[in-house]
Symmetry: C5
Subunit: 378 residues, 5 copies
């Protein structure tokens, strides 16, 4: 149990990433931004590892699918939109500002949208433009090494196309690609609104996995705190609590944005797909409620921990009290017979010494009995 | 009292089931699901005991009732719908995916509905389709052995029929069957909307029983904490509190779903039945409010428990203080007369020893009086 | 003060009644109910004392009033409705199911209404039927012996009549009867909607009295906790807090129901009477707000109590510390001169013993001064 | 600082007045009221000091102003309404029920309005009648002697007139009179809706003064608690917190009532005056928010106080521990050489005594160093 | 780390400024204001340093820009409004009441607006007048020396012009001026509604910087509290918490005001600019949510701190207990052999003394082992 716990507490700090950028650079960025007009595109300062940019193009309908990677121009993509085909353009990595601008030009995207795409500290939101919907949110995933990956994801949903922007090259949509290649997949017979749903669904599924992993950790903490509160510190409990608080803060606005799509998204989501979005809304709601009630349960852990501290102190006190209560009176007695009075009759008896021992043993036993009766030795 | 309590605290863990699946399998399931398109039917991985599937078919109106069990085809049921008859198809056990698919085909149910049916971790919800309403919720029941049974229940309400899906073979609807067989029962003269109400009413009644049982447990804890806080640990209090929190989380969405039916359920609930649903809504509201206020009262128990810890420590301290305060000064006095100074006049008096004893008894009595006056011996 | 307090804490348990039935019978009743169809009338199992049923009939208008008691048939009452008269039928005691059924028949009341009438665990609510309004709530009264009486009250408001159902024979409406007999009373010149208002107003007035009595008790507790926290236990504070919580839960739904009437009650409340209902709504709102803010103030009492525990422990510790700090060093000193070294020069001085005493008195005084300066003897 | 604080804590109880009547009389009054029909006028039982009734009559427009005091009949006032004049009738003292009734007759006020006027425990509210608006609220003022004056104020706003009722003869509107006498004052060129605004504005200004005074007191408490937590008791902190809670409860409904006027007050507030009411609404909102956030900050004070208690106890413990830790081992050593064994080689050495002293000094110093290193003497 | 912390805690008091005026002057001001009619202009009593007044005038469109400073009359500005130019009049310092009045006259501003401009304790709000919108809010900025500057800012948005009023001469809008001088800046091709947005955006950016700086401080506190709780006092934690509370209170009303503009601001914000305001609204929402969740996380810090106090006390107790537990029994033993009984056989043995030493060492070691096993020396 303990080793599992050790792993747990070691990996918890990884969760603290969600606030994303370290504060120094954040402040710097902000001070920086103040000098630029809104609408100026800058490369995200945070893509620390300068991931390579990669771009995939899917064009499919019921009967056909074409898939290309990095070997085409944006203009080609633009021209391929429509004609009963659904176009999916997926961009990995946001470091090529030129490419982003070209996409913006070809698809007629607003400058603000491009800026939001590149702003990695963006609040999740959906925005309605004349010719497209813009949706941005955070993907928060538990990686296989138990650390957490936070990634900005943006989507542009237009007539006949979806463009998805991913901050990092990761495989979150791989299963969608697999399905697209299969001719009989449901996804092939549906359109861009369903494709967007499938991608959002993947992201939300990861929220659930994360929230359930946190619930597991909470239950481990609960088990440890209940059985052996000494093995854990309040810091771990409060840290997990603050992760719940931060996670809720991150997911909350996603719910509102999906709710907008659920209500029709100004006509871009067709009636037969809208119930999928409703399902998605329900899922997010469930995640939020479970996070909130887990946070409340954590308050109970804090109480248990604090009461365990009191109990521990009481234990310490009991040891002190038992030892003091037994030996202090005895020490007094032997002190009495260490006095040097000329006339102390007891000292003269031959058996005096043994009688005193007897009395002392009696006193000690009485006291031990007294404490045993009060249940101090349980 | 104590033995009752012991039983109580032993059975509490059973309440923790509501989160349903153990976390390992949950995570596995989710990772698994990520690779499948939405709409793929899989057998619930959680029906651990692979309960046998059983299926009952009721067809009744004012004057006639027919009842069959396991010896018919779904097509027969489908053909029997309508003609002034109300059809009730009840399925026990969700392990036969083929059967579920057949029902889906015959009654024209959406793939998503079938998927939701089989998904045992579903949030309670009502969904409106063109030809039917889909209602899913959790039945949470206190069994006769004081453990809790959590079961997914789903209902499809169409024109002239109700299909009910139960996860486990249990007798929760037995009393409805008994009534259906009686020709004069109100239920016979009404239709599918009333039949659904009667089933939901049974489920909600069990919520009430459970909530009242928890309230009883709370009052037991309250009694014990008030009279003898030492006999209970904070863990039990916080565990009960977290059960209240989880139960509220489970019942909350049921209220919203029933509220939708109360407001007419898009015409599927007739006006003369809708007030029954209104009543149901009120009942659930009462349960939720009582859970919430009980949770608040539990906070008081935590306070009482923590204050009892402080009191206990104070008791320990008082014992230590009384013994130390009495014997430390006396030990000093006997130490004085244990000194080896050449000239110590008191040592020479014959009665010196007895005078010192007298003084010491006096001091001891004064101190005891002092502590008695402060009420330390109450 | 104390004797008043003793009375207070003795009578508090009486407040716990609001949850009404003792839990055993509650559970039994519920299990019982599961086997009956909704709409089956059963005698309330809780009217422990089987109070006699009594029935009064008032028929009045501006100029005339007739009053009869127990010596008439329901059919007579029914026939007397209308013709410019207002009819008030008042039933005491709900044990005569036959009578209730007859009233239901004569006045065309729904089965559900009759069931709700007899169900003593009913949530307060107002329900609108085609020919009448049904209003049910709890009267919570402080009796003259400082215990609390909880009683289910129901009203049926139709064209030209009000029927009131009281669980117990009590005098809560006596002052209304007195006024009805007076020809010049405002109540005589108004109609059934005003009569209902007057009755609800009496019930709400008792809420206020109760809430103010609780506020008085809170202030007494506050006074005691502030001056002598030892005389009270946290249990009393938390118990009062839980009474506030329960009372709020009981009154909350009454507000919503009266709010419905305030907004016109679907035309049954005339415009010139509706402002009385608005007043009533305001009154209930005031009660709820005062309960809520008192509950918050109670949290302060808990804090004061807990801090008083800490203070008490600190007092205990100080006594122990003062005594130990003074005598332990002195005991060391006398120990030194109790050593048996062959060569200890001080022992040889004639005045050695007295010098040591001097030094010890000096040390003791310095320490006492030290503690006095730190304010430990205040 | 301390003397200021003493004043503060002495004057705090004066704040507890807001609940107004002492509870005995309150209960009596209520029991009393139960026997009277709604609409019976009774003299407020609470105007303890039977203040004299005084009545002022202002009649003004742009060019003229007349002012009379106590020497006119209500009928004269009524006749003077209109004709391009604004009439302001101000009544001090509510003990002359006859006068109130005459005003009611002359201005056609509803019985309920008159009752509300005289009921000193009224919730703030605005009520719309056919020919006038009725507004009642509490004026809560900090008097120059730092006690708080709570006063019921009511206003009737009709076509061309405002009637104001004050419970006590106080000078809260004196500055308005001064301005009315000045011909160029804005108030002269406006009408009754602006006059009402000016009066409400005065009352709300006093809320702000009071709320800021409380904030000052909070900051004083904060300063004391931060620097010398021992000088204050938790009772003072919790008492101030409960004042915040009660004040918020008193002001809350005023906001809603003013909000109603802000939204036009059913046409009685003209468009060019309505923005003043909007301002008023904003002011009250600010007061409420500041009270609420101050209450939250107070929770921090409670935490600081409680932690200071823990710190104090720790200090006490440290003193005990340092003294015990140093002298208990030394006492053991001297005890060793007080033993009477026949053969104890150390005793025979001439320098034995001094060597033991050396060892003991060494031990004492090591222990002092040990505690110094742990920072116990800071 | 510590030195950084020291700086932190030293600079925190600077944050307490937000309540702005010191309480004495505040009260005086208010008492003062009571004697003046609303609408009387007075110089802000709080501009302590009587900053010089400075006034800039920008007039620009796509192709042209003119910029003048302090060398023009308000009438000139007024005449320059319109004709396809956007006018920006910026006033630094609010001490020249004459100037403010002249602007009011020239631009037809309401008296109330001018009063609000000069009132430095104004709640943020937006107000709609016939010919212009009035917007007032607080700029809260972190200065380079880590203190906080709170400044009242007001804006008047009319047809073709924006007037901005700043309390202090600061460079918050300098980057806007720089951009205006550049012909190709987006701001040049847009109008007054966009100009207002750009200014509000600067102010909100500073909110974010401040909120992130506070989050950094929180994380520092968290780090210190987690590793070495003794180095920090609860006062610092609670002070930061109260800053979060006050900041939220300050920003909250700004959100509502911007929300009004987002919804079109009664037609003054054109459709193509409104999405910028929507963005602004989102930003403020993010700030508020992050403040709120940080405040919740701070509660965890309080818990950790309080538990660290308990741990510290437990440590103190352990030291006392270990020393007492070891030496008290030993002192008893040596006391035994200090007794003066005539017949004590052990004393006669030559090796008695050494045997006793052996026993004592054994006892000491056993006790040390006992405490080591319980983990007291970790």
């Amino acid at each position: 149990m303990l080793s599992r716990l050790r792993r747990l507490t070691n990996s918890i700090p990884a969760y603290r990433v969600p606030t994303l950028v370290d504060s120094k650079s954040r402040k710097a960025k902000h001070r920086d931004k103040l000098d630029k007009p809104p609408g100026t595109l800058t490369m995200p300062t945070d893509t620390r590892e300068k991931e390579a940019v990669s771009i995939q193009w899917f064009r499919f309908n019921d009967s056909e699918v074409s898939e290309r990677c990095d070997d085409f121009t944006i203009a080609e993509v633009r021209n391929g939109v429509g004609n009963n085909y659904t176009t999916w353009l997926n961009i990995h990595g946001l470091t090529d500002v030129k490419l982003i601008e070209e996409i913006g030009d070809q698809f007629g995207l607003d400058k603000l949208v491009l800026e939001d795409l590149l702003e990695l500290d963006q609040r999740p939101k959906v925005e309605e433009y004349e010719n497209y919907l813009f949706f941005t949110l955070k993907s928060i995933r538990l990686k296989s090494d138990d650390t957490v990956l936070v990634e900005q994801m943006s989507f542009v949903l237009g007539n006949g196309f979806v463009i998805s922007f991913q901050e990092k090259t990761a495989d979150i949509f791989e299963h969608i690609r697999v399905r697209l290649r299969t001719s009989k997949a449901l996804i092939r017979s549906r359109h861009e609104d369903y494709l967007l749903y499938v991608m959002l669904d993947s992201i939300v599924d990861h929220y659930i996995i994360l929230s359930e992993d946190l619930e597991d950790r909470m239950e481990e903490l609960q088990a440890v705190v209940t059985k052996n509160p000494g093995e854990i510190s309040l810091v771990e409990i409060e840290e997990l609590k603050s992760i719940f608080i931060k996670l809720k803060r991150s997911i909350w606005p996603v719910r509102d944005a999906v709710g907008f799509l659920d209500k029709g998204g100004s006509g871009r989501i067709k009636a037969n797909v809208s119930m999928f979005y409703h399902d998605l809304y329900d899922l997010i709601q469930t995640v939020i409620e479970s996070i909130e009630s887990n946070r409340q349960i954590m308050d109970g852990l804090t109480n248990i921990y604090l009461s365990s501290l009191s109990n521990k102190m009481n234990e310490t006190m009991k040891i002190l009290t038992v030892i003091s209560a037994i030996f202090i009176p005895l020490t007094f007695i032997v002190g009495v017979y260490g006095m040097n009075f000329r006339y102390m009759p007891e000292l003269e008896y031959n058996s005096g010494y043994f009688i005193v021992w007897g009395i002392m043993v009696l006193i000690a036993f009485s006291l031990i009995l007294f404490f045993k009766k009060r249940g101090w030795f349980d």
